[in-house]
Symmetry: C2
Subunit: 163 residues, 2 copies
């Protein structure tokens, strides 16, 4: 029983690692060159601080997700992993929100501020951005499940267990 | 000793409540009308989904922060408060990131996407936005301190206590 549970947790972590890794790869590979009349223009993630932050945050979480896979199950560091999980989940959430806010403006524009949507002219770039966001959201959902499981098993907030 | 600690925690929660409340008030009161030639234009938070999300998230955290002040200290609900603290801290972080991403574009614009900065024409609105963001960041820092304290006291991740 305990072994099945551990395999499940490792599989979840592996899935989260794959999700954040694909988010990084998809976002980094998302450059598209368009020529409007005489002006050549390249859309890539480094054009926006929010998207750069997204790539950096996802990279950090990916590296951490990779390292934690090799942590032996009886290590005392697992207590510390809960805290790092929490901090990195917050980092991931904040990077997703920032990228999502920019992606929303890129897609819909903002009439009031006269920011025009750019997704019609750089649709390939926008598709990559959407894909990276979806991958990262999957990653963050898995980390939240892991986190809630850790808290549940330590804190027992719903008082389900007898004390 | 336990009483001093409890007073400190309640004071921190009061401070967080005041911080998120001021973030809401400052953001909601941030409308500015400007006339450019014949076009009259009003900058307000409802113009951007990210800023609306910021106000909603901060309102939720404010209401929760108010209610939790009246929770009796021996209530069993305190175990549950840790989980709600965590979820709402994440909500707050994500709303701050989204608003920050929009505020950054409003301030600096984005050359590549041809989004012009609007803060020169609606500086009062931008100052309000900055103020609300600072207040909300203060709120989220306090919630993170409370959260880390809860986790520290329950999990003892640094193994400082003898087991």
């Amino acid at each position: 029983m305990a072994k099945t549970k551990r395999i499940c947790l490792i599989l979840l972590r592996l899935l989260a690692f794959v999700a954040t890794l694909s988010a990084v790869i998809v976002m980094v590979s998302s450059h598209e060159r368009v020529s409007l009349f005489t002006v050549s223009f390249e859309a890539k993630y480094t054009n926006s601080p929010a998207l750069k932050y997204f790539v950096i945050a996802n990279s950090i979480v990916t590296v951490y997700g990779f390292l934690v896979l090799f942590l032996p199950s009886e290590s005392l560091l697992w207590r510390f992993v809960v805290v790092v999980d929490m901090v990195l989940t917050m980092l991931l959430i904040s990077s997703i929100s920032a990228a999502l806010a920019i992606a929303q403006v890129a897609k819909k524009g903002n009439n009031y501020a006269a920011w025009l949507p750019i997704c019609d002219s750089v649709s390939k770039f926008c598709n990559h951005m959407t894909g990276a966001l979806i991958a990262s959201v999957i990653g963050v959902i898995i980390y939240m499940i892991l986190l809630l499981y850790s808290i549940y098993s330590v804190l027992d907030p719903l008082l389900l267990r007898k004390t």
